[in-house]
């Protein structure tokens, strides 16, 4: 069995499972946000179940349209707040404590190896970086999960990605690995499958790199993305206080539908052009693409390492005239640490706007929406038509180094050009 299949077998109380098999699995965590949880809460009420299956295993994170963007958003947040209160939900985070959900949960030690996690948010696949089976679902699945503590799944087959060597370009990171992969296989290249990572290249990837790579598994159509548990993972888990977990390993004779090799040494900063995450090109080959806005943040690249990379480039330089640069640390902890390291001062002196944690502009919600004809480079995960605002605006996806370099020059720029 693959690593994913082993986790699902255990959660379903079975000795083994096969690809295509329908199972019912016990859940370790059920997650929702301010957009998806209101529908889930409505559906939960219809099930007739009075209490959630476990008040410690439901997480409600209002991160999308918060701090409350308008009256309707405020009403949706109120629904979450009331439900969390009535149900004594342990993991409810309000403004002042909340962060971007897929950065917050690992930071709080709420997800770990062997966990089965569903979230009413497509980027729930992020936690596979820590060896969990974690997948995005809709609000009704979230409601059923809260009611029963289980979910039905069709066991996925898997693609194995063997990562080799180390990065040779100092500005290349996890984002480029996943953009490269999606560019290669397409937005449905891993449809319904697990993306399982292996190889000596794992040693070159930090936890932040892995969280970023797993985060965009959905952009290839995958059910989940997952990394083996090694010393890097264990050190992180210790740091965040998650000490009980079960690490699973794929069998040596696990069957994969295909194996794809990725040579980390050959990777260069990559950009996904409008309007698909698979429309990739190297940043240095982008041509002269003038940009109106840069966003550095999100569940994909809003972590401390991302802030540090951006600050290294923006220090002593200035955002180009005509460019709006938004920096959004993904949690309060990251925000505070960035402040202590002087990064926020660097951003502000460079002419960037720094925001409290929020998903904001990533989905065209608030805190940096685009007008007709405008273009943004963003460290986010999706660039479909209208993603960040007007349907006639454009979004280019990149790593934090390209985003920062682009903010400085005003056009898509590989950071090596500046340094």
């Amino acid at each position: 069995m693959t690593m994913t299949q082993k986790i699902l077998a255990r959660a379903a109380g079975l000795d083994r499972v096969e690809a295509g098999q329908l199972i019912e699995a016990k859940l370790d965590l059920v997650l929702g946000n301010d957009i998806t949880a209101p529908v889930a809460i409505k559906e939960f009420a219809r099930t007739g179940v009075a209490r959630v299956f476990d008040q410690d295993k439901v997480a409600l994170v209002p991160d999308h349209f918060t701090p409350n963007k308008d009256i309707k958003a405020a009403e949706q947040c109120k629904i979450l707040r009331c439900f969390a209160g009535e149900q004594n939900i342990t993991n409810y985070f309000d403004t002042g404590e909340v962060g971007v959900e897929h950065v917050l949960l690992p930071e709080r030690g709420l997800v770990g190896p062997g966990d089965v996690v569903i979230g009413a948010d497509s980027h729930t696949c992020t936690y596979g970086a820590l060896g969990a089976f974690s997948t995005g679902v809709g609000s009704t699945d979230m409601a059923a999960g809260m009611a029963l503590g289980t979910a039905w799944f069709k066991v996925p087959s898997a693609i194995r990605f063997v990562l080799k060597n180390r990065f040779t370009d100092p500005w290349v990171s996890g984002k480029d690995v996943i953009l490269h992969i999606i560019g290669m296989i397409g937005v449905d290249g891993a449809l319904y499958q697990s993306m399982e990572y292996a190889g000596d290249g794992l040693n070159a990837l930090t936890v932040d790199d892995r969280l970023c790579i797993a985060n965009m598994a959905i952009e290839a159509g995958a059910k989940n993305g997952i990394f083996p548990v090694d010393q890097v993972t264990r050190d992180f888990l210790k740091e965040v206080g998650r000490d009980r977990y079960t690490a699973f390993e794929a069998d040596a004779d696990a069957v994969y539908s295909r194996t794809i090799e990725v040579d980390l040494a050959s990777l260069r900063s990559t950009v996904a052009f409008p309007h698909l995450p698979s429309n990739t090109r190297l940043a240095r080959d982008a041509g002269d693409v003038k940009i109106d806005q840069v966003v550095i943040g999100s569940c994909t690249n809003g972590r401390l390492s991302d802030m540090r990379v951006a600050a290294r480039l923006l220090q002593g330089r200035h955002v180009a005239k005509g460019v709006r640069c938004l920096v959004i640390p993904a949690t309060q902890k990251i925000y505070l640490q960035a402040m202590k390291e002087g990064l926020l001062e660097i951003f502000i002196n460079a002419g960037a706007a720094v925001s409290t944690p929020t998903c904001g502009p990533c989905l065209g919600g608030h805190m940096g929406v685009l007008a007709k004809g405008e273009r943004a480079v963003a460290t986010t995960n999706r660039n479909f038509v209208g993603r960040m605002g007007h349907p006639e605006s454009e979004v280019y996806l990149s790593n934090p180094a390209v985003a920062a370099a682009t903010a400085i020059t005003g056009r898509i720029t590989d950071a090596n050009e500046l340094v």
Binding site: D70, S122, L191, G221, G364, R387
Partner: protein, 165 residues
């Protein structure tokens, strides 16, 4: 159970951002969502769609976000069925869970054009293009999913399960 209506035809990778843009996600009211269904890909959709009509699309329909608002908007707009070459997995799941009929059938998608009149028999999975006379067979659902659909969706399934049915 059957359905019959006029076809709205779209291509590959119709994503959840064009089905229902995020700027409308500060509501979960089906009627409000329906009013903006497909807005960023086809502004005329909401004016032209009539109850019973169908969407026919190519690969990876519904890709992107997990927002259940997407199938909710489509269903509330009056669409009786979505036929596609393939579906993105979260959309597929959500559609079954809320009772929006979906059928995977590459042959039907390849043949049926915009404006055609199509009828569908959900019990057999038979699709008929009444404009051309073409008939197609959709992939059958596994028994578990047929059961979910027959009960009316996941919430009904949960209720029945708790009652021991």
């Amino acid at each position: 159970m059957t359905a019959n209506g006029t076809v709205f035809r779209y291509g590959d990778n119709v994503d959840t951002d064009v089905i229902i843009p995020a700027r409308y996600l500060n509501t979960s009211d089906p009627a409000e969502l329906a009013a903006h269904c497909m807005e960023d890909i086809d502004k005329t959709f909401v004016q032209r769609v009539k109850p019973g009509d169908m969407i026919v699309a190519d690969a990876n329909f519904g890709c992107g976000s997990s927002r259940e608002h997407a199938p909710i908007a489509i269903k509330a707009a009056g669409i009786s069925c979505v036929i596609a070459k393939s579906f993105a997995r979260i959309f597929y799941r959500n559609a079954i869970n809320i009772g929006l009929p979906i059928l995977e059938c590459p042959e039907a998608a390849a043949s049926i054009q915009a404006g055609h009149t199509v009828s569908v028999d959900f019990d057999t999975g038979a699709i008929t293009d009444e404009t051309t006379g073409g008939t197609f067979q959709a992939a059958a659902f596994p028994p578990f999913m047929k059961d979910l659909i027959a009960r009316g969706g996941l919430v009904e399934y949960v209720k029945a399960k708790r009652a021991g049915r």
